[in-house]
Structures are given as C-alpha cells and as structure tokens.
Amino acid sequence: MAFSALTEKYSGKMGTLTFGSGDQAITVGGQAAMPFCTFDGEIPNKPIVAMEVYDVVDPEWPAAVVDPFKDVINDPIAWAKKNIDEYGAKAICLQLASTDPNGENKSADYAAELVSKMIEAISVPLVVWGSGNVEKDAEVLSKICEVNEGKNLLIGPAVEENYKKIAAACLGYGHNVVSQSPIDVNMAKQMNILISNLGLPMDKIIMEPSTGALGYGVEYSYSVMERISLAALAQNDEKMQCPITNDLGKECWKAREVKLTEEEEPAFGPDLEKRGVLWEAITGFDMLLAGSNLLIMRNPKAVKLVEECIDELLA
C-alpha cells in the first residue's frame, strides 16, 4: 500500500488576539490546524514568547535564573530593556510579585505607575501579570487598566472569583484579559462565556488553562490544551476559540529538580544551568505542541531554544 499524505480539515479556526499598539503590536492565534501541522491548515501567526521581568525577586531564586540579569534584577525596567536589547524579547511580561499581600503588599497605585513607566520605556507589547492573590489582583489590575487607558495591554490572570472587576476594567479601558481556569476544559469554556457575557469580545480574551511544569502536572495542562484546541477546530466550538497562553516561567523555576544542587541530590548532576534551562524550554515546547499561542518564560537561553524550534517548525 503506497503512501499518500493524509490531511485534516477542520470546520473551526482559533480566534486571534492583538495586544500592544502601533507597528509593534503582536497578533497571536488564528490557526486552522493543530500545532505546527502546517500541512493541515494555515497557521498565520507564530506563537510568541514574552519574557518576564519581576518587580521583586525572591531571594531563593537559583543562580541559573538570576545570572543572566544580575545587573538589572532590582530594576524591572532595565531588566525589560535588557531582555529586549540583548535577548531579543518580542514581548515583555511584567510580573507584579511585589503586590502580593503575603509579600511586600505594594499598592495598586504603585503598580499602575510602574506599568506606565514600563510602557514609556519599552516599545514591545506588554503583558501584566498579577501576584495571583484573588482580591488584590482585582484591585491592582483594574487600577492598572484605568491608569493606562487605551494601551491595549494584556492583563491577567482573571479567575472565577475576580474576573468581573478585571475584565470590566479591560473592557472599559481598552485592554485584553487573560482568563485563567483550573485545568479543566469545561471551566475554561465557562470562564470565556462569563467574560464575554460582560461584553468583552472574544478577540480580547486569551485562556490560561493553568500551567504545570514538567513533573508538576505538565500532562494535565497538555491534555486540557489539546482538548481545547480540538474543540475549537474540530467541533467549531466558538466559546473555545480564544488563543491560549501559559505562564510557565515561575512554575518551572520553583521545581526542586531545578533548584537542588548536586550536593543535595547527586543524581541530578552538577550543571544547574543546563537542567534549569531545559526544564523550562521543554515545558515551553510541550505547551506549544499542545496548542499554546503565547508563552511567558524567564531564561533567555530557554527562550532562544523554544523560539528556534518555533521558527524551524513553521519555516
């Protein structure tokens, strides 16, 4: 039996989302095929990696992740610039760790001002990520929306408990929202419905299905994302046709496999950098293979590895 190539034609297509402004704006999504299956349908926009910067860094961070930014680690804006100028970041994700009430508990006003300064200082699109504290994020992120009206930021995570405030602010002040759900296809869909019911169009929503790093639930995220992608493409389920993002940098770099030294765990080997970079790069690659459109990553080398794979697979 001779071989003839088999292609899949889907009735649905993933929607797109554009964030940032001017000619630096980035569009993600829009694919009519499963990841990298260019032989099945059009993949008009390459997945993007946004490089993250923190406004406060946990002193426990391993050297491998601190080293590339040693000189700028206490200045998120300089850090962002370094990411762009030196490491070629296409987008920046500002992680507002300092606003966490269990940490420094910095105010919403502080965060909003930092975001304004960041927008001033960089030209690439900006993702703004809250601390993950449900109540505080509602306050901080909505303030950021208000103060930075019309900047078309990507803001999140909005979860079931706080999506109203965040999504409403995105709607009111012209931003896009990250709709985060707890590793469940139906919850992801429900979040999209809830947010779009507030009046935010689907092309201003990106899903974050909760990201697990290698060894910490990557397979759950992976399967949920494959199911979302199939629902969007094969079943043409409109409420699943928001592009997908994964906030994976922070998940990867807190894994014990990345942090433990050889003394603490001889089986893991001496080269912490190699371990860490690959832990992040492979997690990121898995997310791409499952349908991610936007990765949020930390280490420049890991970013480069992932971007190379994207470029070559979509060449």
């Binding site: 088999l6 269990n102 060894g215 397979e219 080269d271 293979l289 697979l313």
Partner: protein
C-alpha cells in the same frame, strides 16, 4: 478500532472453564478488549473465531521488542494521536550513540552513563533504554569488536548501525540472539538485511529518503520473514521529523496502511551538534510520535527533564501516578519539626514537597494512600476523612519521631478538623493548613 468486550465474548466458548486464568469467558473477553490478555491463553477458541479476533486485534502499529531479558524494551503499538483519548502505551525508547571512531574512554564513559544515569520517581526507575552502536570506520572487524564490547558492557538492547553490509553483518552476528535492531535495510539491500535479521533474531530499521520510499519495501522485509520493523523515513531536521512521525502514525491508524504500521526512529544525534538543541528534538520525539530517539549522550542534566517529560506524557490520563504511603522527610526534620499530612496523588506530593523544600523549614510529610486522589477528590470520595486518617496517623509511627502533638491538614479539608481531632483523641492537636500549596512556605515560617 477493536471489538467490544461483548463482541469478543460472543466468539468465545462461554463455558467458564477458567483455563485462561480468568474466572469467566466474559472477564476474559473484557481483558482482551482492554489489551490486557492474549488470545492464545484460551485453548478452546475456534479457528474461525481466532481468525476474526486476531485480524481485529492486531495492533495497527506493530509492537517491536529490542533486547532481551529484564532490559528488553518494547516500542510501538500506539493506538491514538492524543493522550486524552487513551494512554500512550510504550514510552519512547531513548538510545545512546557510540561509534567505532570514538576512543575507548569515550565509549566507556557513554556506556557508563547509559547504565547508570537514572532517577527514582513515583516508585519507578527512570532510565535510558538502548545503545546504538554505529560503524563509521567502514572496518567490519573494528565494528564487530565494538559490538562485542558493548554486549559485555550493557544489558540494554542494541541498535547495530552500519551502512556497509559486511560491517552490519559482522555486528549482527556478534549480537545474534540478543534481539538487536539492525540499521538499516534500504530499498536496495532489504532482502539481504531481512535474511540477516531472520538469521540473527533481530529486528530491522527500514530506511529511506522519504515515507514513500520506505512504504515501498517494508512489505518485502515482511515477506522475507521479518515482521519487526522500525521506520526511518530520512528526516534530518526538526520540521521533516515532525512531519514524518505525524504522517506515519496517520497512515497506520487512519488509513490502516500496513506498510507503514511500524514504530519510527528519530536520529536526533545526526540533526545537531548542540546538546541543548538535541534535547529539544528528543522532547519533540517523545511528545509527537517518535518511538526511538538516538542521542549523543545520556547525561544527567538533559535526561532528568526528558525522562520526566516522557513519564508525564505516557502516564494513563485516567489513572493518576501515586506515591508510596509513608513518612517523607523534607529538609532533615527533627523532633520539633511540624507534621503535614496529605494524599498520595503524585502531583499533590510533588507540589507540596517542593514548596516545603523551598521554605527550608524541616518538616515531616505524611503521605496517605487514597488511591492517588487529590485532597478534595479523596475527601469527597470518603477516603481522606477523619476515621480513615486517624488510624493511618497512629500506624505511621510519626508520633515516635516528634516531641509535640500538632498535625497540619490541608486547608481544603478544614471541615474535617473537628472530627479528625475527635478520632485522634486529646493527645493530638489538629491544625488547619493552607488551601494552596504556594502558601505553605509562609505558613511554615509563621508557625
């Protein structure tokens, strides 16, 4: 796909004679349908039924076993494209490459890595599987010597790789009866290589420049008496590797193309010199349909992420990975260290353990067997509840290791605190912990 349990049952004798090891024909039929039994076990199946059943139950992708004994490794037999449909069955085999151009020290070091780089996780040993021995010298004698050395140095299965038939033959014969995989049969020499494989009990890689080319001659190898075939359709870059693995699986599963119903091999060692990039390529093979991936070295730092990825991708999505029940010591706890109890769902364990570790607070972690359910699921299933937990805590012996009486329960099951306290009695004090693992460090530090 295959037949349902009842359809199979109809073809069985229905005498419940138990000789197959199942108590009833129905149970045997269900096991067959689930791929958990072999038809040969029932001595009474009629020939006609046998024909119907084996036709229907032959896997669309052939299973190929490489090596012998404990370390034999099976690849292939995959039934689906997405892991949520059904578990991916046979994890991608990771092979390490040695060549006869390397000096002894290098070969030794690589084989040493192959044999010894391993990690324990969820009660499993994660390790690489195969040794690829390649002839680059063109010298059959030299190659044969290397194969012999390899056979002595590792119990893992071999891939014997030589372009030159004489060298291949020398290597294959040296490894005769060891279930080696011969690399490679091509359109030109496939009859010859098939005969060699048959003679030496080996399996064969069918190698061509494209899928079309390979599809043309796998049939010949089968007619030559060798059914265990692995395909190399010539990809030497990431894009064509992705395409080939994808299309070959589609051909096998969707078009039921028997000529392509075989596992694939990805020579990522030939695609890049950069060890990082090579790891990325290997990770692609693991996720997207590569059955064997040949790498230049089995070093700890690259294998840890790759093995864990492979473990994750190939786990049964319906059956969670579990930890052994017991006391886990984190950060070297002592008598006054806190005690936390949670379930044996591996993911719960890993996340909680990582957070405790990050806190640097020495802690006893009590892991209770609840069949691998997460905290809330186990609670609602009535497994992670006071009257089950209390006896476990007592039996665990944790009390002998500490000089206090506090036990911390997950915040999500705060509602059981009272009952748990009652069950444990007054010599314990139940403390409600955090709901989210990420809050554990702050919680422990504040204790």
């Amino acid at each position: 796909m295959g037949l349902t349990g009842i359809q199979i049952f109809k073809l069985l004798p229905k005498t419940n004679c138990k000789e197959c090891g199942s108590p009833t024909c129905l149970a045997f039929a269900m096991a067959l349908a689930g791929g958990k039994a072999e038809l040969d076990k029932c001595p009474y199946v009629s020939d006609e039924a046998k024909a119907t059943l084996s036709e229907a139950s032959a896997p669309p992708i052939r299973g190929v076993v490489i090596g012998t004994g404990d370390k034999a490794k099976k690849v292939g037999e995959e039934l689906v494209f997405y892991r949520h449909e059904k578990t991916f069955l046979n994890p991608t085999a990771i092979a390490c490459l040695v060549t006869d151009a390397m000096d002894d020290a290098e070969v030794d070091a690589k084989i040493d890595n192959l044999n010894n780089v391993q990690f324990e996780r969820v009660g499993l040993t994660l390790e690489a599987d195969l040794l690829a021995v390649r002839c680059v010298s063109g010298d059959a004698g030299k190659f044969e010597a290397l194969v012999k050395k390899a056979l002595g140095a590792t119990e893992k299965g071999l891939i014997i790789m030589a372009d030159d038939f004489a060298a291949l033959e020398a290597g294959a014969k040296a490894a005769s009866g060891k279930g080696a995989l011969l690399y490679a049969a091509t359109a030109d020499n496939c009859d010859q290589v098939a005969a060699l494989a048959k003679e030496t009990g080996a399996s064969v890689v069918a190698k061509g420049a494209s899928i079309e080319e390979v599809a043309d001659f796998t049939g010949k190898i089968v007619s030559g008496g060798v059914k265990d075939i692995v395909i190399d359709a010539g990809a030497r870059d990431i894009k064509s590797m992705f395409y080939n693995d994808n299309q070959i699986r589609r051909a096998a599963l969707k078009a039921k193309n028997r000529d392509l119903g075989f596992p694939t091999i990805d020579l990522v060692c030939d695609m890049t010199d950069d060890p990082y990039k090579e790891a990325m390529l290997a990770s692609l093979a693991i996720a997207k349909y590569g059955a064997i991936v040949v790498m230049s070295d089995i070093d700890k730092e690259r294998m840890l992420p790759l093995f864990v990825q492979r473990l994750n991708i190939y786990t049964d999505p319906q059956r969670p990975m579990v930890m052994d029940e017991g006391i886990y010591e984190i950060n070297k706890p002592g008598p006054d260290s806190p005690v936390i109890i949670t379930t044996n769902f591996a993911l719960t364990y890993f996340i909680v353990a990582a957070e405790i570790e990050a806190s640097r607070v020495p802690t006893w972690l009590l892991i209770m067997d609840v069949e691998g359910m997460s905290v809330l699921t186990a609670w609602s299933a009535g497994k992670f509840v006071a009257d089950a937990m209390a006896p476990f805590v007592v039996k665990s012996g944790i009390r002998d290791k500490i000089n206090h009486n506090k036990i911390i329960i997950p915040g999500y099951v705060a509602q059981i605190s009272g009952e748990f306290q009652e069950e444990l009695g007054s010599d314990w004090e139940v403390v409600i912990g955090t709901r989210e693992a990420s809050d554990i460090p702050a919680f422990l530090k504040a204790l």
